[in-house]
């Protein structure tokens, strides 16, 4: 359908007859209506919709031009006409919607009569009036898909809002999928009617076989539903696995960095613990070095002891027990009897009283040795402390290095998306496990389905054998078989066509969206799932349709509409100057981004 002429008579602000031609040139195939606010751009858009579909009669306010109304006399008939001429499949059409008003008072008029005409001129130049103009218009461009071809730019982002079913409806209606659905439903219903008739007219045995067939078919249907559910899970799982793998691939660099950081953090922790232990050991070692502070006192003590020795105040070599033994034996070591020597015993006794206890004497004798020993031990502790301090310095240096390396990695990771790689890998592993389970389940169900189909075929053969015995059932049986086969064929076509439609629209929407979106690098994918739910996948692999800005939604809507139109037309994207993807676009959006997008499409 290509519009080439619009003519309005007394419609809204269009006084009298006005007409606009739309370019049908191959190279200049875009027509732009440019005007100030209130000039009548939207009215022209509304005039087309009103003419072709009668849309907006109750919503557009008064349709009749006010100046014409004021100028007319009471009881005058005032025509309001919009004519749209278009070509479609080598034929030219003229659609005309008319309202004849009759002026009743100074500023009022009532509708006297209204009509809608559609005339068609074929390639030979023969013109005829279409008897069911609304039906014909509907067959050319169904009313329920009108808004996707004549769309209002101001509300374009509504189409891709996440809280409505417009996308799903648009695909279903534009691709005329309900026709296939209805074809299947009716054929299936008629096949069942034939079978019921066979059951009624046939023998008891045929009735029994049909009942068995029905039971088997019911089980088969249930199995197919189960299979489809698992298949859907598998598809989703496959998609999720693919998404996760993509994230992992894209974050390979981050993953290495994260692994390196984890490793460094581990080493950092170990070194910190080691440093803590070193500090404890240093503390212990320092405590053991207290003799260092007593070196002077030790030396003073040694000096005092030596002086005392020199003065004889501390007897060296004479011990208390030795003197006691001498007195008890009463002989001196020279052989003289002590008691014979005058005053000798008293002298010895005085030595005892002047001598130190054996313990003290031992201490005094050992003191120099002990002090040397303490010095040696202290030196050992000192060496140990030096070693510990050196170790501590080394560890601190290593900790500083590690800290710097971790900081560097953190800085690099800041520039990359913060993706929890470990968690994603865990998820991936779970999904892969689930996939395996589902694959096994689907194999089992497929086996059961094949088994049921085999049983049904056996029943059908059995029934045919019985039916042959009854000649009158032959035609009925054939009809049932044809209806059944036709409905099965439609079901297969439906599944295949739905899938092809989905893939095509998904691919085309993605191409256009990524081409038009300014921040296209922020989005990695557009997906249309099997329920025709459109989703935008962001850079991180997450659904983000709900987060799109109004401008991005406009772009998405535009991309989707282009995809739909091209799906119908079979055009190949990106849209070129020679083939513009946009049908008729009332562009009055306040968003500059869309202006740019449209300009790009036009370019």
């Amino acid at each position: 359908m290509k519009i080439f002429l619009i003519r309005v008579l007394n419609f809204k602000q269009y006084y009298g007859e006005q007409q606009a031609a739309i370019s049908d040139l191959k190279d200049l195939n875009i027509t732009v209506f440019h005007g100030l606010n209130g000039a009548g751009k939207t009215s022209l858009f509304n005039a087309i919709n009103w003419c072709l579909y009668g849309v907006g009669e109750n919503k557009l306010g008064e349709l009749l031009n006010k100046r014409v109304l004021l100028e007319a006399d009471i009881d005058d008939e005032i025509p309001l006409v919009v004519t749209v001429c278009f070509s479609h499949k080598n034929e030219e059409y003229m659609a005309e919607r008319v309202i004849i008003y009759k002026k009743t008072e100074k500023k009022q008029a009532r509708i006297d009569r209204k009509n809608f005409f559609l005339t068609v001129t074929d390639i030979s130049g023969n013109t005829r009036t279409v008897s069911n103009p609304s039906g014909k218009m509907n067959s050319i461009l169904p009313e329920n898909v009108r808004e996707y071809f004549f769309f209002d730019g101001e509300n374009i982002d509504d189409l891709t809002r996440s809280d409505n079913e417009k996308i799903e409806n648009a695909i279903i209606n534009i691709m005329r999928l309900p026709i296939i659905d209805k074809t299947y439903d009716h054929l299936e219903g008629i096949a069942n009617e034939y079978r019921r008739e066979l059951k009624r007219q046939g023998s008891i045995k045929i009735g029994e076989i049909i009942s068995q067939e029905e039971r088997l078919e019911k089980s088969l249907d249930n199995k197919k539903i189960q299979k489809e559910e698992i298949a859907e899970e598998l598809r989703k799982g496959k998609q999720q696995i693919s998404d996760l793998k993509k994230i992992l691939r894209e974050n390979e660099k981050s993953r290495h960095l994260q692994e390196r950081r984890d490793e460094l953090n581990k080493t950092f922790k170990t070194f910190n613990e080691y440093l803590g232990n070193l500090i404890l050991e240093i503390q212990k070692s320092v405590i053991q070095l207290y003799p260092l502070f007593l070196v002077n006192q030790f030396q003073s003590s040694l000096n005092i002891v030596n002086q005392k020795r020199e003065k004889g105040e501390i007897p060296s070599g004479l011990k208390e027990q030795f003197i006691i033994d001498l007195i008890e034996r009463d002989y001196c070591i020279c052989g003289q009897k002590i008691s014979d020597l005058e005053g000798a015993k008293d002298h010895l006794l005085s030595l005892i009283s002047n001598s130190y206890t054996s313990k003290f004497e031992d201490i005094i004798i050992k003191l120099p040795g002990d002090i040397r020993s303490v010095n040696n031990i202290t030196n050992n502790h000192l060496n140990n402390l030096n070693r510990l301090c050196k170790d501590k310095a080394d560890v601190q240096q290593k900790i500083e290095d590690l800290d710097r390396q971790i900081d560097e990695i953190n800085r690099k990771l800041k520039d990359s998306p913060s993706v929890d790689i470990v968690n994603i890998e865990k998820k991936l592993s779970t999904f892969e496990e689930n996939q395996k389970v589902n694959e096994r389940r689907i194999e089992r169900i497929q086996f059961e389905i094949e088994n049921l189909e085999k049983q049904i075929n056996e029943k059908i053969k059995e029934r045919e054998k019985e039916e042959k015995k009854q000649e009158k059932l032959k035609l009925l049986s054939r009809k049932e078989e044809l209806a059944r086969k036709a409905s099965s064929a439609v079901l297969k076509i439906k599944e295949e066509f739905y899938e092809q439609t989905r893939l095509r629209i998904e691919e085309e929407t993605k191409k256009v969206f990524l081409e038009l979106a300014w921040k296209h690098d922020q989005f990695q994918d557009i997906r249309l799932d099997r329920d025709f739910q459109l989703e935008v996948i962001d850079l991180w692999g997450l659904p983000s349709r709900e987060e799109l800005s109004a401008g991005e939604r406009q772009i998405l809507s535009l991309a989707f509409i282009c995809a739909m139109v091209n799906g119908v037309k079979g055009a190949s994207l990106p849209p070129t100057k020679k083939r513009c993807a946009i049908p008729l676009f009332n562009h009055a959006t306040p968003f500059k981004i869309l202006c740019s997008a449209v300009e790009q499409v036009i370019e």
């Binding site: 026709i179 296939i180 009716h186 008629i190 086969k485 439609t501």
Partner: protein, 64 residues
């Protein structure tokens, strides 16, 4: 690139001639009813006629 309606027709082409005839005719009936009539009154009769025709006069096979 083929448009989706052409893809749909290709899918029809893969069918056996009798079934293809029935499916195509029924599809056209459905489209006509969807475009031109508000309610599908009488559509089943039309479909039955199509099936009856192919059952009695199959393209490939013995006439009944």
């Amino acid at each position: 690139m083929k448009d989706l309606q052409s893809i749909l027709l290709d899918l029809f082409d893969d069918l056996d001639s009798d079934i293809k005839g029935i499916v195509s005719e029924v599809y056209l009936i459905e489209r006509e009813f969807m475009d031109f009539y508000k309610k599908p009154h009488g559509i089943n009769e039309k479909i039955r006629d199509v099936i009856d025709k192919y059952a009695k006069y199959p393209i490939n096979g013995e006439k009944l």
